[in-house]
């Protein structure tokens, strides 16, 4: 039994090619993934991300709870509306999920977690929250639309309520603002400017139609994946999971070690790993030879062990194959990838590959 978002009818009307994604019937593209990708880099596209899980956390000790729950430190959130990206770890330091948490008030934080991890995330939250008297409330009655691209904000702002428009227009990156049941945040997963808008399910189709009329093009999950890969953003389940720590997933920057006395789940294991030293790292690859990099291809290095591509694709912006790969720590500037039985040459590069429409690496 697959789930459908409140925008299912719109996807059908827009000619979306629907596929099963984590139990949801979602559009992979509406014709051409590459055109949709380029349109987000050059103009504005919209994504239905209603399959993602919005969870509200309430209670007097919510901040204290999150300080313990997350590897990043919610004490970095001082202004209402500010968002933080973090991993939620198990006791072994493995990543249960990566998520965005918004600070709204000291007794109210909102979290957005992945669709594919919904059940285990909720179970984990419900296991940890009672000790802090925090209530965990899923919000399945809410839809979510990401509007992304250099023209995304200009095209979306006129469609917001008069009351919220000035605040929405003035949002700094990684901030959000409420408008009744609506929540407008200047966040995204594409490496472009834009909004992620949480809104009541029964308002979603109308808003989608208004965005389309304003010239915002429906964009499928296929383009969402190539956009985030170019932007150097990890995908849960591909680039990290419960067997991988943030230190092995290029997410060390999201672990707040200070203050040292802050106890968070997974801290002890991570500290042990930091002291012993990790044996592998997640890097970016740019294929020098002709071909396409794909998930799970073997990476051959000068080092003692092989690596593996965790996310690989063709980059429409760079017109080259790019990837994230987990490789031995000793890996230098070059490697080879086993592409369908042939060893092709690749360069090891530091993501992001593309930001705000511009290549960030030398080709």
């Amino acid at each position: 039994m697959t789930n459908r978002t409140p925008l299912y009818e719109e996807h059908v009307a827009d000619g979306g090619k629907l596929v099963d994604f984590a139990g949801w019937e979602m559009p992979i593209n509406y014709g051409s993934q590459i055109d949709e990708h380029n349109n987000v880099r050059n103009d504005a596209g919209m994504f239905d991300v209603s399959h993602m899980t919005v969870v509200d956390l309430t209670g007097e000790r919510t901040r204290e709870f999150l300080r313990y729950l997350l590897a990043n430190n919610v004490d970095r959130l001082k202004d209402s509306g500010k968002a933080l990206y973090s991993c939620m770890l198990n006791e072994d330091g493995g990543v249960i999920d990566d998520l965005i948490v918004y600070f709204l008030s000291d007794d109210f934080f909102r979290m957005v977690v992945n669709a594919g991890t919904r059940e285990k995330d909720i179970a984990w939250l419900e296991k940890q929250a009672p000790a802090f008297g925090v209530s965990v409330t899923e919000r399945p009655e809410l839809a979510m639309i990401a509007v992304q691209g250099p023209n995304a904000r200009d095209k979306a702002l006129p469609l917001l309520s008069d009351a919220v428009r000035p605040a929405a227009a003035g949002l700094k990156p990684f901030f959000g603002v409420f408008d009744g049941d609506w929540f407008i945040a200047r966040t995204g997963y594409t490496g472009e400017d834009g909004f992620e808008i949480v809104l009541p399910a029964d308002a979603a189709a109308t808003f989608w139609q208004q965005l389309r009329a304003a010239g915002v093009r429906p964009t499928g999950l296929g383009a969402r994946d190539t956009l985030r890969l170019e932007a150097g953003m990890n995908l849960y389940g591909s680039d990290m999971d419960e067997s991988i720590s943030p230190l092995e997933a290029a997410l060390g920057w999201t672990v707040a070690w200070e203050p040292a006395e802050r106890d968070f789940i997974g801290r002890t294991a991570l500290e042990r790993q930091r002291e012993a030293g990790t044996t592998q790292k997640l890097v970016g690859l740019l294929l020098v030879d002709k071909g396409v990099l794909r998930n799970h291809q073997k990476v051959v290095t000068d080092g003692e062990a092989d690596g593996e591509i965790t996310s690989g694709s063709f980059s429409p912006t760079l017109q080259r194959a790019i990837a994230f790969a987990r490789v031995p720590k000793s890996t230098g500037d070059t490697c080879q990838v086993d592409v369908r039985g042939k060893l092709l040459n690749a360069r090891v590069v530091k993501p992001p590959f593309v930001r705000n429409g511009e290549a960030q690496i030398e080709l």
């Binding site: 992979i28 593209n29 051409s32 993934q33 190539t226 396409v292 794909r294 369908r340």
Partner: protein, 131 residues
């Protein structure tokens, strides 16, 4: 609705084959196949002069989504490959039966063409695969 020209022959693996006046046979992938695979980004073609047997994987079409083998519908020797695809693999999407052809064969046995599906049979085959 897929575009299935009636004058062509088709394999169950979604290649098409066109008999040319000089006795050679041009091979490509069907419009249905390109539509399923999505935007093409890289095409690997056989070598000119290479002998291929029927149902042998002899080319690869890579879309942004996935890599997919192309099987020779009939046996023969490769006479020519579509060099233009190196720069514009998207021709396979926009014109699967024309600009997007893959390679041309000299058939080992012209009679093998009779073993392929005609347009009607391929349409029926597509309808059955959809269920």
């Amino acid at each position: 609705m897929s575009n299935v020209p009636v004058e062509l022959k088709y394999a169950k693996t979604h290649e098409w084959a066109r008999s040319n006046d000089d006795g050679s046979v041009t091979i490509g992938i069907s419009d249905n196949a390109q539509d399923q695979l999505g935007d093409m980004v890289f095409i690997e073609l056989p070598e000119v002069g290479q002998s291929v047997s029927a149902a042998e994987a002899c080319a690869v079409v890579e879309s942004v989504k996935a890599a997919s083998d192309v099987y020779a519908p009939i046996a023969g020797e490769v006479l020519e490959v579509n060099e233009g695809l190196a720069d514009s693999p998207e021709s396979v999407n926009s014109d699967a039966y024309g600009e997007g052809w893959l390679f041309r064969l000299q058939p080992a046995d012209a009679g093998e063409m009779a073993g392929l599906m005609d347009g009607d049979a391929y349409e029926t085959f597509l309808a059955s695969e959809a269920h």
